[in-house]
Amino acid sequence: MLWLVILAVVVMIAAALLTVFLRSYLAAVAAVSVVSLALAVIFALLRAPDVALAEAAVAAGLSGVLLALTVRRTGLWRSDAGDGKK
Amino acid sequence: MTVIGDIFLLVGAVFLCLAALGMVRMPDVFNRIQTGTKGSTLGALSVLIGVFFHHPDWWAKLVVLAVFVLVTSPVGSSIIARAALATGLRPWHQAEDEETV
């Protein structure tokens, strides 16, 4: 079990670093949703199912949708550099 | 019963693992979606069946989850493929030309 928590933490940290360093906003949104995914798994592993439920509902779903819609509405994808059409 | 459940769980894990491996190995987005979505759908279904053999009293929620995975996973992959097409990723261009001839 401990190894699973460590694995989830590693994935979470990787995705969080990716969120910071990615130049494309949309890719960063995808990485953020992976962060909250890993966080929900950690909560579930640590036997806090109610917290995990809230985390899955709010962070994985709503914040991803909101961020994606924001990127779409504000046209921030125009400032994408490099990380896109290849 | 438990052994059958374990076998289904194992098969599901193998297919999920193969799907992820396909994601890493395939050369372009569309092939990644192909390998990823098929393997993960059957893998998830197989895990659900395995859990059903361990805990038959959970059947109702497992059925809802199975229907959910079956409906959403192909829709999700199709929509990503469509978005990839819209962003201008077209690795198969020559093949398409050959065909129309």
Partner: protein, 90 residues
């Protein structure tokens, strides 16, 4: 850590799931285009849903199934939203 018993087959299944998560995360980190990363996130959510169902079995608590359900539903909506936003940038 928590004294949960997992059989040998179950242990192998966990290891495979862990490898699958790592491989998916590798595609998320490497993937040259945005679409690659979104696909990786999508596959990771499906793997996670399956892993949560399995976790419900290990912890023997049906509420984890609810987490899997909510998680599957909302992450699908999230992936669709990202894909739609990606589509618009063409």
């Amino acid at each position: 850590m928590m004294g949960l018993e997992i059989g040998i087959l179950g242990g192998i299944a966990v290891a495979l799931l862990g490898i699958a998560v790592l491989l998916g995360a590798a595609r998320l980190v490497l993937g040259p285009t945005v679409a690659d990363r979104v696909v990786a996130a999508d596959i990771l959510t499906i793997i996670t849903t399956a892993a949560l169902v399995w976790l419900a079995l290990v912890q023997d608590s049906a509420i984890v199934l609810d987490i899997a359900l909510v998680f599957g539903a909302l992450s699908f909506v999230g992936v669709v939203a990202i894909a739609r936003a990606l589509e618009k940038r063409s």
